[in-house]
């Protein structure tokens, strides 16, 4: 029976895989650079957990103004109103654009929250030295990396709307502070995800027996 835990890991063997180009280097000195691409070699991203938390906390704080402040002020005839992200979704829904309403709601409300929550969970578990479901946690990280930039959708939509309304002289539309806060949340969450080092998930000691039921990948 082959078990995952039988596969050696790089760090104890003195092997480092270059983060930039993938080259495997043996016995690298503490401050060595990759002989192929010149990137600094380190077994783990330096200060990964601290940097990731810093970006994530900043994103959490800005998430409030991003959702509470209006993203759009507009004036149509004598009527003035302000749109937050949520009221924009509701308006799309009332217009009958259910599919787009669902897309915007998912991309701007659900995904950012889930992303920040998931990353916080990953960070807490790494700090506690948890060895719980490492494979699933790594997959979660891969999903976070993949969907990160989609939350920019509403930011683009608002900027486009403002620009187009002025372009066509169709009325008055000005962006609210919420849209800048929202863009910052997306960028900060992306930076937090990039700073996290998924290899830390696997650094906690594991017991072979618990993973015996794992199906071997083909």
């Amino acid at each position: 029976m082959t078990d995952d835990t039988a596969i050696p890991r790089g760090a104890p063997l003195g092997l480092i895989g270059c983060e930039a180009c993938g080259l495997v280097v043996e016995h690298a000195a503490a401050d060595a650079s990759c002989p192929r691409c010149g990137h600094r070699l380190h077994a783990r991203k330096p200060d990964s957990v601290t940097r990731s938390w810093a970006y994530l906390l900043a994103a959490f704080i800005l998430y409030l103004p991003a959702n509470l402040l209006p993203v759009l002020h507009s004036k149509k005839l004598f009527e003035e109103w302000s749109d937050t992200i949520m009221s924009g979704v509701v308006a799309l829904w009332k217009d009958g654009a259910y599919d787009l309403a669902i897309i915007v709601f998912t991309a701007s409300v659900v995904v950012p929250l889930l992303k920040m929550g998931a990353l916080a969970l990953l960070l807490v578990q790494v700090q506690r030295g948890s060895s719980y479901l490492p494979r699933e946690r790594t997959r979660l990280y891969r999903i976070l990396e993949f969907i990160g930039h989609w939350s920019m959708l509403d930011v683009f939509a608002v900027a486009l709307l403002v620009a187009l309304v002025h372009f066509g002289a169709l009325g008055n539309a000005e962006p609210g502070a919420g849209v800048v806060a929202f863009g910052a949340v997306v960028v900060l969450t992306m930076l937090a995800t990039m700073s996290f080092d998924p290899r830390l998930i696997w650094d906690a000691p594991r017991t072979p027996a618990r993973r015996a039921s794992d199906r071997p990948p083909t």
Binding site: C21, V24, V25, E26, L92, E145, V162, L170, P198, W202
Partner: protein
């Protein structure tokens, strides 16, 4: 197993091995057929792959994407009709308008993620793919590859595309908005950029080494 003395042994390159970037497991490298990928047995991440496309095909794809990029920017994205007035809007003029009307930071992000970064990406691809084809090592290859790695997560043409669709719907009560050739251009560009990103940068590093 871990008694090897790392302090005194000389640094050595191990081209026979691959290390998973997500879980640090060490794997033996083996040959791959075109279109195949080697996955980490521990965490399931891709260790390395061989693209279905060779370097010449990638070059053709990059050139095609550059042409589409130019067309998508030269052609208007949308036409707006309201009260007998027809206005056409191009990507860059929209970005300038957004800048003028107080969405400065957002306009800057849009200009970067939709215009500058994809353009830089395509130009750099052109450069590194040509470098890989040359028998000698090319100066600037290493720098270009690092730039490509940094730019990759910040290219958001596909998100912008859906953003345009959302704003068109939102504007439907104000004006008749029709999609123009530029919008279709960005659609094609999204597909070409996605195809290009299936080519792992690590594959290019290895190809340049040989």
């Amino acid at each position: 197993m871990n008694t090897k003395d790392g302090a005194t042994a000389p640094m050595r390159i191990r081209t026979d091995l691959a290390i998973c970037e997500q879980c640090d497991s060490v794997h033996q490298r083996g040959p791959l057929a075109a279109g195949e990928a080697a996955d980490c047995r521990v965490c399931g991440a891709t260790l390395y792959r061989r693209s279905r496309l060779d370097v010449d095909a990638m070059l053709a794809l990059t050139l095609g994407a550059l042409i589409v990029f130019v067309l998508a920017n030269v052609a208007p994205i949308v036409t707006m009709q309201s009260g007998g007035i027809t206005t056409r809007a191009w990507l860059l003029t929209i970005v300038v308008r957004a800048w003028d009307h107080g969405v400065g930071p957002v306009a800057a992000i849009a200009a970067g993620t939709v215009f500058l970064f994809p353009l830089a990406q395509l130009t750099l691809y052109l450069f590194v793919l040509r470098a890989v084809k040359r028998p000698t090592r090319s100066p600037g290859f290493v720098e270009a590859m690092h730039w490509l790695r940094w730019l990759r997560p910040w290219s958001m043409v596909e998100v912008f595309l859906i953003g345009i669709l959302v704003s068109i719907i939102k504007m439907s009560s104000l004006a008749r908005v029709t999609a123009e050739a530029g919008l279709w251009g960005f659609g094609v560009l999204t597909i070409l950029l996605t195809a290009l990103s299936t080519f792992e940068l690590r594959e290019l590093w290895d190809a340049h080494d040989d």
